[in-house]
Amino acid sequence: MSDTVLHAVDVHKRFGRLWVLKGVSLEVTKGETVCIIGPSGSGKTTFIRCINHLEKIDGGQIEVNGRFIGYRRRNGELVEDSERNIARQRTKIGMVFQRFNLFPHKTALENVTEAPIHVLGLPKKDAIDKAKVLLTRVGLADKFDTYPGKLSGGQQQRVAIARALAMEPALMLFDEPTSALDPEVTGEVLSVMEELALAGTTMIVVTHEMGFARRAADRVMMMDDGLIIEEGTPEHFFLSPEHERTKQFLSKIL
């Protein structure tokens, strides 16, 4: 087997009459960190939501670890997979949301142990031990028993990262993880993400943080109007972007 974690080919997505993804292809190998940048409405968020089938796709195919996501082959045709199978595949794909989406009725620790215990069936004690290690790793060793309502945005997002990591996913998706945060706390979330990237986590990050992209990304994708219009190393984007749209976009956000 190759080291390919994500294999997305010609992904199409429509919302009614709106054509959001017009044939996006992306290959991500193990240990890579890929940043997706682009103006709002370019389809970058929709694309990563398709990767764990929070959105159905209308064309193309997506494989994670060599398995179709959301669909299976029947008589040569792709049909939507059973709910149970989709749920099982999602355990291998971690997702961090723009608005954290922590479970407000559970403590930080319970947020992290919830799925390992009740989805993977891990013994409670093991799950708790693991959650404590993860929460410590994201710098929240003193917040185990705190409810999300009492945590700052940056702390909530770090719990959310720990929650996703607890499933030991093959791929981590970050959907604008710092866009809902105050500027002074984006740093603490980004540094956690940088450590993950450095430790060899396979991640796809939709972000406007070019500083993060420069420090952590192996490759950067520029999306516009439902397509990846340019790809390259972070240096390429800073020094010599080719596409006119990319130049415009970068001049606005840098």
């Binding site: 709910e83 749920a87 971690g94 479970f103 009725h105 989805v119 409810y147 999300p148 929650r163 499933m167």
Partner: protein
């Protein structure tokens, strides 16, 4: 002519503080009919609410027709129809007997209650942020597990206060099953009245209903407090809950829901 203030304190005293042993049987009937009917009503309402938010259109329609019919017709009519259209068994549990009329009454009241509970439970489910279902799915939960473990526990906080009001109503509405011959609290008062023509039997029974609903107010405040780790991470004290129960405006002002 009777006196304008027709209160016979002796009858009230007698009925409230030294009731006949038969009275306690009727009090028990009122309590068990309300509790069972409310519990079944919540269950029906939950099923109907889940049907209402289901992806399968036929389930949504069934749920809609159910609410349409049972909220749109008098509960008294429903009680009579359920009692007379079907034959109901009389159940015996040791020395406790539930007559057929009481069973018919419970069935009718719970079906009626389910229609109201559906709206309350659906509003509770709707009050939970859409991101919660996505987050639950993203860690590998199925729809059912996400509902059970993530959505409904959060919806409960929004559901419980109106549910408490529903139960308060239910305890009083049970008096209607007297009309199909269930011997409950109101029937007891009515029977005494038709024997002695003293209206104070009704006043005395009102005191008993008031006692039941007041006890319930305390129980409800306790339950809400148990549920009340709010999203802002603050807890209301028992006393604050109780105040909120007595003065609903304060609980709205707190935005207890979202």
């Amino acid at each position: 002519m009777h006196a304008l203030v027709a209160v016979d304190l002796h009858v009230i005293w007698q009925q409230v503080f030294h009731p006949h042993s038969v009275f306690f049987r009727t009090l028990w009937a009122t309590v068990y009919i309300s509790v069972v009917a409310q519990a079944a009503g919540v269950l029906l309402g939950l099923l109907a609410a889940l049907a209402r938010v289901s992806r399968f259109a036929p389930l949504r329609w069934i749920s809609g027709v159910y609410v349409w019919i049972f909220r749109g017709t008098p509960v008294l009519v429903q009680i009579f129809y359920v009692y007379f259209a079907f034959s109901w068994p009389t159940l015996h549990f040791g020395f406790w007997t539930i007559p057929d009329a009481a069973i018919a009454g419970i069935v009718a009241l719970s079906i009626n209650e389910g229609a109201y509970m559906r709206e309350i439970i659906r509003a509770g489910i709707d009050s939970v942020d859409k991101g919660q279902m996505e987050a639950a799915k993203s860690v590998g939960m199925t729809y059912g597990k996400a509902m059970r473990r993530i959505i409904l526990p959060q919806a409960a906080r929004v559901i419980v206060p109106p549910l408490g009001n529903e139960f308060n109503n239910m305890m009083k509405t049970t008096s209607l099953v007297y009309t199909i011959g269930v011997f409950e609290m109101f029937a007891y008062a009515e029977q005494n009245y038709s024997q002695f023509f003293i209206a104070d039997y009704f006043l005395a029974i009102a005191v008993w209903y008031l006692l039941l609903t007041t006890i319930w107010t305390f129980i409800q405040a306790y339950i809400e407090r148990r549920l009340a780790v709010s999203e802002r991470g603050e807890e209301l004290s028992f006393r604050e809950r109780l105040q909120a129960a007595w003065n609903p405006m304060t609980s709205w002002a707190r935005g207890g829901g979202g």
